[in-house]
C-alpha cells in the first residue's frame, strides 16, 4: 500500500471541500496538517491531565510534568541527540534561532564574522542582523551555484580567523536543496566557529541523527512535522549549550532568586522561562510516534517520489519554470515554480478556485528571490498524505491556468 493510502484516513481536514472541490493540500512546507492521533492526544491531555508543570505537588501536576518531559525524551531519540539536556523546547524554529543568536551576540566583537547562506529563510537572517547590530559583527553570505546548490568553494573561501558563527539551512524552503550539514559543521568547527542549522524543512522529511550531523545547534518547528503550532525544539550540543548565558528570564529557568541576582537552573530548563506549551509537547509526542510508526525512511521515499513526479510534470509544461536542483539530485519535498506572464499570487489564487492550496510569494527568502531574479514564486510542497493523483491535478490545473486570466 502506498503511504498516502495508509495515512489519508488519519487526517480529518483532508475531507474539506474548498470552492466546490476536494482539498488538494500542497502547502505542508508552510505548515503540515495534523493526524487524528495528534489532535486526540491534545484533547485527551486537556480533558484529563492538564495542570502546570514542574512545581505542582498534586496528581495532575505530576502527570502534566511527566507528559511534558516524555516529549523531550521522544525528541531526543527521534533526532539522535546524546543527552536529553540537549533538547530545549521553544516556540518554533524562529524562536530557537533567535535564542541562539541572542545568546551568542554577547560574545561577538566588532569585526567578528557570521557566515550565512544566500538561500536562508528570513528566520535565519534577521536574528543574525540583530546580533551584528548589537555587537558590531559582520554578516557574510555564501551564494548559490547555477543549479541551486550551496557554493561550497565560496563557503571554504569565506571561512577565516574572524568567523565566529556559521548559520545555515539544512533544506532550502524554496529550492529544496539539501545542504551537506555535517561537512558544513566540520568546516565551521575547524575554523573555530559555532554551527547553527535551520532544520525546519528537514525534520518532517529526513531521518536525522545529531551524533552524525555533528552541528552545535539545530532548530525545528513541531507544526511542520504533523505536530501543533506554537512549539519548537532547539537542539544544542551539551558542551556549547552549557556555556551559554540565558537571555530570557522568568520562572522555571532559575534555582534561587534574590532581589538583585539569581542562580540559573540546570539544562535544559535554563532556557525555558515561563509556563511551556505543555499540550503542544503532548501533541509533538504523538506526531513523533506517528512518524516513527510510518518509518522516516518510508516517509522520505514517498516524498522523494512525489517531488520527482512534480519536477518532471511541471518541468514539461510550456512557460512554466521550475527552480532548484534538477530531478537527478537529492531534494527536499518542495517544488517552486513560476508561470511566465503570471504573478505567483495570481497563480495561487487561480489554483485555489480548484481547491488546490499552494504557497506564493517570496517565501520569506527575499535575498534568494533577488539572486534568482524574481519577485516571488509559487510553491508546491508534499507530506505523507499527498498522492500522485494530487500532483497530476496540479499539473493539469497549471496547463489551464495560463489562459485563465
Amino acid at each position: 500500500m502506498r503511504l498516502d493510502q495508509l495515512t489519508r484516513p488519519d487526517f480529518p481536514i483532508l475531507d474539506r471541500v474548498v470552492n466546490g472541490c476536494s482539498l488538494v493540500y500542497l502547502d505542508s512546507a508552510a505548515s503540515s496538517q495534523k493526524p487524528r492521533q495528534v489532535i486526540d492526544a491534545m484533547v485527551r491531555y486537556y480533558e484529563r491531565s492538564h495542570a502546570n508543570v514542574h512545581r505542582s505537588i498534586h496528581t495532575l501536576g505530576e502527570e502534566a510534568t511527566e507528559l511534558y518531559e516524555l516529549a523531550r525524551d521522544r525528541v531526543q531519540t527521534f533526532i539522535g541527540a546524546r543527552h536529553r539536556e540537549e533538547i530545549v523546547f521553544t516556540r518554533g524554529t524562529t524562536d530557537g534561532l533567535s535564542l541562539v543568536a541572542d545568546a551568542l551576540a554577547h560574545r561577538l566583537r566588532p569585526g567578528d564574522e557570521i557566515v550565512i547562506a544566500e538561500m536562508e529563510h528570513h528566520s535565519n537572517i534577521i536574528p543574525w542582523q540583530l546580533a551584528a547590530r548589537d555587537s558590531g559583527a559582520v554578516i557574510k553570505a555564501v551564494p548559490i551555484t547555477g543549479e541551486g546548490h550551496l557554493d561550497m568553494d565560496a563557503f571554504r573561501r569565506v571561512l577565516g580567523t574572524r568567523t565566529r558563527v556559521v548559520a545555515m539551512t539544512h533544506v532550502s524552503n524554496v529550492l529544496g536543496t539539501i545542504n551537506p550539514v555535517s561537512e558544513i559543521a566540520d568546516l565551521a568547527r575547524s575554523a573555530g566557529a559555532i554551527s547553527v542549522i535551520d532544520g525546519a524543512q528537514a525534520i518532517p522529511h529526513l531521518s536525522l541523527d545529531m551524533s552524525v550531523l555533528n552541528c552545535d545547534f539545530y532548530a525545528v518547528s513541531a507544526h511542520k512535522m504533523l505536530g501543533p503550532t506554537g512549539l519548537g525544539v532547539l537542539y544544542g550540543r551539551h558542551e556549547v549549550l552549557e556555556g551559554l548565558e540565558p537571555t530570557r528570564g522568568g520562572s522555571e529557568m532559575i534555582k534561587e532568586v534574590w532581589i538583585d541576582r539569581a542562580r540559573w537552573n540546570d539544562l535544559p530548563w535554563r532556557f525555558e522561562p515561563g509556563t511551556p506549551p505543555i499540550a503542544e509537547a503532548v501533541g509533538l509526542t504523538a506526531a513523533i510516534e506517528y512518524l516513527e510508526k510510518l518509518g522516516m525512511d518510508r516517509v522520505a521515499e514517498h516524498e522523494r517520489a512525489l517531488t520527482h513526479q512534480a519536477l518532471q510534470a511541471l518541468g514539461g509544461i510550456d512557460r512554466v519554470r521550475v527552480f532548484g536542483p534538477p530531478p537527478t539530485h537529492e531534494r527536499g519535498a518542495v517544488v517552486a515554480f513560476k508561470v511566465e506572464g503570471l504573478h505567483p499570487h495570481d497563480v495561487a489564487a487561480l489554483l485555489d478556485t480548484e481547491g488546490i492550496a499552494v504557497r506564493a510569494g517570496h517565501h520569506c527568502a527575499q535575498p534568494l528571490m533577488r539572486a534568482l531574479g524574481v519577485v516571488g514564486t509559487s510553491r508546491a510542497s508534499f507530506s505523507v498524505y499527498n498522492s500522485p493523483a494530487e500532483v497530476d491535478l496540479l499539473a493539469a490545473a497549471l496547463e489551464r491556468v495560463q489562459s485563465a486570466l
Binding site: 504573478h343 499570487h345 495570481d346 478556485t353 517570496h362 528571490m369
Partner: protein, 125 residues
C-alpha cells in the same frame, strides 16, 4: 481553471491586460515606491504637478493582477485633480471601480498603490 468573477472581475482583467497609465514619467515632480511586505510586490507612482494640480501620473510595478489593476485605477483617479483631492483617493474609491470582491488577504494588493500615490504627492515639488 475558471477565475471566479468575484475575485478577478472583468475590470481587473481588462486593466491588468491593457493598463492605461502604466509607464515612467521622465518629467515627474514627485515619485514614490513601496513594497508589500507580505508578497514582495513593488509599485512606483510618478506624478507631475502643475499649479497645484496632478497634470500627469503614471505607475510601474512588479506585482499581481489585482495590485496592477488597482495602480492603474488609482493613477487615473488622481489625474486632473488638485493635490488635496488626489490625496483623498482611498481604497473604497478604487474598489468601486474594480467591482471585485476582494478578500481580506488580498486587500493589501489594492491599498499599496493608493498609499504610494499619497507618498508621491507628498514628495512632489
Amino acid at each position: 481553471v475558471t477565475p471566479p468573477a468575484a475575485l478577478y472581475s472583468d475590470v481587473i482583467r481588462e486593466r491588468w491586460r491593457r493598463p492605461r497609465f502604466r509607464g515612467e514619467l521622465p518629467d515627474a515632480t514627485g515619485v514614490a515606491e513601496d513594497v508589500n511586505p507580505l508578497c514582495g510586490d513593488r509599485v512606483r507612482v510618478s506624478v507631475r504637478m502643475d499649479d497645484g494640480t496632478v497634470a500627469e501620473a503614471r505607475f510601474v510595478g512588479d506585482a499581481c493582477a489585482i495590485c496592477l489593476a488597482s495602480a492603474d485605477v488609482t493613477v487615473e483617479l488622481a489625474r486632473g485633480r488638485s493635490t488635496a483631492e488626489a490625496a483623498a483617493v482611498d481604497a473604497a474609491d478604487v474598489l468601486a471601480v474594480l467591482q471585485a470582491d476582494i478578500r481580506p488577504a488580498r486587500m493589501r494588493c489594492v491599498t499599496l498603490p493608493v498609499s504610494v500615490l499619497g507618498m508621491a504627492l507628498g514628495s512632489a515639488r
